[in-house]
Amino acid sequence: MKVFFSLLFFINILFAGDATIEVVKKADSLPSIAVEDASINYDETFRMQFFKSLVADLNVISLFNVDRHRRVTHYNNTDVLVENKDMNYVLRYSMSEDDDRALNVVMKLLQSGEEVFSKSYKVSQQNIYMFVSHAMAYDVNEFMGEPSVEWMKRKVIFSRIIGPQKSEIVIADYTLAYQHIIINGGFNVFPKWANRAQNAFYYTALDASVPTLKHVDIRKSQITDIVSSDGMMVCSDVSDDGKTLLLTMAKSGQPDIYTYNTETKKYKRETTYGGIDVNGQFMDRNTIVFVSSRLGYPNIFSKKLNTNEVEQRVYYGRSNSACSAHGEYIVYKARESSNAFSPNTFNLHLISTKTDFIRRLTAVGVNEFPRFSKDGDAIIFIKNYKSQSSIGIIRLNHNKNYLFPLKYGKLQSMDW
């Protein structure tokens, strides 16, 4: 019997915290939460918008069973509403407009009628209310002591194809509720944040005489040419310190991965295979994963920078043409069917370099362009299904997917 328990214990240790293992049947045990609106100003439509946004965010943090009924109360009422008295938690908030027309929000979290957490927020304009609701959900998550969901507060940048050779680059929140077109006109693709602070980004201009990588400093409204390459030019990844870029360039018609030092302005060719090498992504400071056709079909490989050591990383699927890495984990896109009319053509899969498990993350449609969040908690991706383009978010440790549809156009690429 001891052997049996120690075996179980061993298995438990082995799989604890492995994101390639799914968590199932966890939802039943989540605590309940209700949201009470005690707003002073604003019309009913806006109040409802804010409420919906907050409820959606609370759902995404995946810690509660969120009650979807909007109930109105007074902020200083000592008791929760009678309908909410059986809830484990009640989140009460109040929105008010000040003399500068700024949106002020105060909120408190009540547990069994007792206030356990409170905070206030202010944004200069009403129309960016969604960032307040994201911040509130972020803070509730922090208060509950869960792993950070910092990605919620980060901005997504994406390019949207609006016609042949026409695109827009847009900055949005992760739900796409807020959208600001930052580059309008022309044919610009593959936007990529240049730093953690998200105050600059790179993109590829395809309507220049030669495909050109550009850098945009958002604060200074300044656009600078970085490097050009005949045929193809993509900034695939930026190192954590922002000093090294992984580029796909095609000097002499040959798509290969290059590193580019933003300080010395020098680039170095990292792959030399005569077929296709693209989509370089940092695994750590000295290792990259990338997509290569060196087996005759696209698949995922890794390479240690400054060496010639290349290793195949994925052994499942006959066409794996996109990837992203975070620590030991690699998420990749695999073609499921050679029938383009199948409802299930491209799915995302997660592997760990330390185990042999493969976890399929999506079920239907064309799922592509996976990108890990900086903290590895979530994966963002593009889903195209039945003529609808959406941004999807997968919360790995909570086994949940969320979709945020784009109103028009088709998502080309994105970063967060």
Binding site: I161, F190, I223
Partner: protein, 184 residues
Amino acid sequence: MKSIVLSSVVTALLVFSGCSSKEPAVDTKAQEIEAPVAQEVEVVETETVSAEDSMVESQANATAGTMSMADVEAQLPVVYFAFDKFNIDTAMQEKISAAATLGKNDASTYSVKLEGNCDEWGSDEYNFALGLKRADAVKKALVAEGIDTSRISMVSYGESNPVCTDKTQDCWAKNRRVNFKLLP
């Protein structure tokens, strides 16, 4: 005891193998999370960059040689490719040879930009690279026919420049192509 241990192991293996093939729970409430408003909001905080709207290269119809640029361009072929391939078949090779002849005569004063395109299967870098390899295959064929390499530039548009947007095999075949664009 041994059998209990064995059966426990088997059960554990079954449980884990079952887990790895299950679908993740797709949230059907996605509609409720849908953005309440997707209005194009005005300038917010400091995030403003003036619209970059004057980047399109002008391609005026300069007259040179015996034919105008538009006339020559109209005679240049579109080279089509098979799914996931960038090799040139015999029929397409003939078209390229004809284009090279044109390039050495009526179009001898122009440069050419080869635009590689793909069908809509995937929006990733690999697709862009495939478009590029198609353009590069046409470039190599032109050079083999005697066109100076310095007159040829390339660009890949991936799947972002379709001529046909229906969801049919025929339509996609039309999108797997290389276009010739003349430059003065």
